[in-house]
């Protein structure tokens, strides 16, 4: 009970006028992603390599989706086109109606690991985004403190990243991405390098924060449990060439907690995902064999 109260307090320090959920009017919603007929072909030494083929995807404002698929299927590549790091060979990506051509602070990124600036303290890392947006250093520092307390690391503001554990570093990474109040949060296997215990902690932590933020989240993972636990929707991709092969709604109640992981609903959904993925993967294999 106390814990919940404290939680509310710590979230009260956020700038609520900039939060998705509080912006009220439906027309003012931000964070709609539309990916239309996207092909991504890389020029490699051994000729053109199709990393993503004919991907189409719409994400509603405030939706939490997971991109799920085996290693090398093009999850990161697809996410990087939304981020603006990779230009699609054909098709287009729009965020809130605007075609994506380059990265921007409206789309926050969280990477798998080692993406903090090692020469900046934890606070300086989080203050970086606000500082770049042109607010003064005092303001940026106070925003940084807000977000550090949000992820429970206020006490470590003066530490350098290499003195923190992997889980703590990732939480700083999340705080840093959120400090710009982005309408879209792009996360590329952010918990992939963490141990199972920490990973579950981080998932709960993320959902807590997201509950308040309600921004759009695209979360890349190859862990089915993680995808089911976190998301509203799971977009499944198959390998070579990367294709979207399934789109699964996750109708589990929120807020979600660790106990959900052993519930029958969770198990049922997980089985459904597994079956679907296996079927789709088999189909894809058959098609490949026929084609080859």
């Amino acid at each position: 009970m106390n814990e919940a109260l404290a939680n509310d307090n710590r979230l009260a320090v956020l700038d609520h006028s900039r939060l998705q959920a509080k912006s009220g009017t439906p027309g003012a919603e931000r964070g709609r992603i539309s990916v239309r007929d996207v092909d991504i072909v890389f020029d490699t030494a051994s000729g053109p390599h199709t990393a993503v083929e004919n991907a189409s995807l719409t994400v509603r404002p405030g939706e939490f989706i997971c991109l799920l698929g085996p290693s090398g299927c093009g999850k990161s590549t697809l996410m990087n086109t939304i981020a603006g790091f990779v230009t699609p060979s054909s098709g287009e990506v729009r965020v809130d109606g605007v075609a994506v051509t380059e990265p921007g602070p409206d789309r926050g990124m969280v990477f798998q690991q080692h993406s903090l600036f090692p020469w900046k303290t934890v606070k300086e890392n989080v203050a970086f985004g606000p500082l770049m947006s042109g607010v003064g250093s005092q303001e940026a520092n106070s925003v940084a403190r807000t977000f550090l307390s949000l992820v429970g690391l206020a006490a470590f503001e003066n530490a350098y990243p290499n003195t923190l554990s992997g889980g703590m570093q990732q939480r700083v990474g999340i705080a840093r991405a959120l400090a710009n109040y982005p309408s879209v949060l792009l996360m590329d296997e952010p918990f992939g390098a963490l141990d199972a215990q920490t990973r579950i902690m981080m998932q709960e932590n993320l959902l807590d924060i997201w509950r308040e933020f309600r921004n759009t989240v695209v979360f890349v993972t190859h862990d089915i449990d993680e995808a089911v636990f976190l998301s509203d929707r799971i977009v499944v991709m198959s390998a070579s060439p990367g294709k979207i092969i399934a789109d699964i709604d996750v109708d589990l109640p929120r807020p979600r907690e660790q106990s959900l992981l052993t519930s029958p609903e969770f198990m049922a959904l997980k089985r459904q995902c597994l079956d679907l993925i296996r079927k789709e993967t088999l189909n894809a294999f058959k098609q490949q064999n026929r084609a080859g």
């Binding site: 814990e3 919940a4 404290a6 939680n7 307090n9 710590r10 320090v13 981020a83 790091f85 380059e102 990265p103 921007g104 602070p105 926050g108 990124m109 990477f111 993406s115 903090l116 600036f117 090692p118 020469w119 900046k120 970086f128 985004g129 770049m132 947006s133 403190r145 550090l148 307390s149 992820v151 429970g152 690391l153 206020a154 006490a155 470590f156 503001e157 003066n158 530490a159 350098y160 290499n162 003195t163 923190l164 554990s165 889980g167 703590m168 939480r171 840093r176 991405a177 710009n180 792009l186 215990q197 920490t198 579950i200 902690m201 709960e204 932590n205 807590d208 907690e257 660790q258 106990s259």
Partner: protein, 312 residues
């Protein structure tokens, strides 16, 4: 969160415990009231390091000093006994002779003037080399054009020893002083450029992408990501550059007819003042080492983020 997940929190990591409002209060207070883990990182670790250093490095430094003393003793013996077997110590003054000559020099004024002149030249030449070297190095590391234009010159000029520059330096530059500074500058320049290029080219792509997605401009990326990332390599270049500056200086000061520790050494040779030659040599060595050390120590604050923490 309920108490169940809170328990999990505690076992996983000492993490979300600061996530409550108390975390907000803590950040205003100074180090001593910070939680233990933080204190352990900031004050305890260095202390442990220091006592550890005395224990492990203390004896090793004794060995190093002893090694030098042994060499001096052997030299003394060789000189006083007139050792002459392929290597000839007949005309080499013994350390005791050099020592008493040094005391004479130290009581006069001339010797200090030589040192001052050399220090001035090194300071000017080195400063120029650092500014120009880092600028060129960053330009080369960032732009293929700049690299293609500048690199051929570096490859061509770098192997030329400082002494070989003396005639051209005298012909091209208006004063003796500027010729010497030019030669010293050239010596320091190349290591600074090359290490800067190397550091800049090592820029971590993930960090650049992180910065871009946080809204950083190109200049901001240069300032906040590229330069700090290149700093360890740049600092190494600065230290090497300082060493090279000193031995280039010696070549340059052969030109000078007046002052400078290089001139002093060279002049002693022409005047056949053997103890003074050795004093000059050792002074150059000592000053070079000292200045290199100062550069390293001076740059330490730029690299303090590297110092602590075993994790990477």
């Amino acid at each position: 969160m309920d108490s169940k997940s809170n328990a999990a929190l505690r076992t996983a990591e000492p993490l979300a415990e600061a996530g409550t409002t108390s975390g907000l209060k803590r950040q205003d207070s100074e180090q001593p009231t910070s939680p233990t883990r933080n204190a352990a990182q900031t004050s305890e670790a260095p202390r442990r390091l220091q006592t550890g250093w005395l224990k492990t490095m203390g004896p090793r430094y004794l060995v190093r000093i002893a090694a030098l003393i042994v060499a001096v003793l052997l030299w003394e013996l060789a000189s006083t006994r007139g050792f002459n077997f392929y290597i000839n110590f007949d005309n080499i003054p013994a350390p005791s002779v050099v020592g008493s000559a040094l005391i004479t020099e130290l009581t006069g004024q001339e010797f200090y003037l030589h040192i001052l002149h050399s220090l001035e030249r090194v300071a000017i030449a080195y400063l120029l080399a650092v500014i120009i070297g880092v600028l060129l190095g960053v330009a080369m590391g960032r732009s293929r054009w700049a690299e293609d234009i500048i690199l051929p010159y570096i490859e061509l000029l770098r192997p030329i020893p400082a002494v070989a520059w003396i005639p051209l330096a005298i012909l091209m530059l208006p004063t003796e002083q500027s010729s010497i500074i030019f030669i010293t500058f050239l010596g320091a320049l190349f290591p600074v450029i090359l290490n800067t290029v190397h550091g800049v080219e090592q820029t971590n792509g993930v960090l650049v992408r992180a910065a871009r997605s946080l809204g950083a401009s190109r200049t901001a990326i240069l300032w906040h990501v590229v330069l700090p990332g290149a700093m360890p390599s740049i600092v190494a270049g600065l230290a090497i550059g300082m060493g090279v500056a000193w031995f280039s200086l010696l070549a340059g000061e052969i030109i000078s007819g007046q002052y400078g520790i290089g001139y002093y050494t060279w002049n002693s040779y022409t005047l056949i003042q053997y103890p003074q030659i050795i004093i000059g040599m050792l002074t150059i060595g000592g000053l070079g080492t000292l200045c290199t050390l100062l550069v390293r120590k001076g740059c330490n604050p730029l690299l303090k983020w590297q110092a602590k923490g075993g994790r990477s």
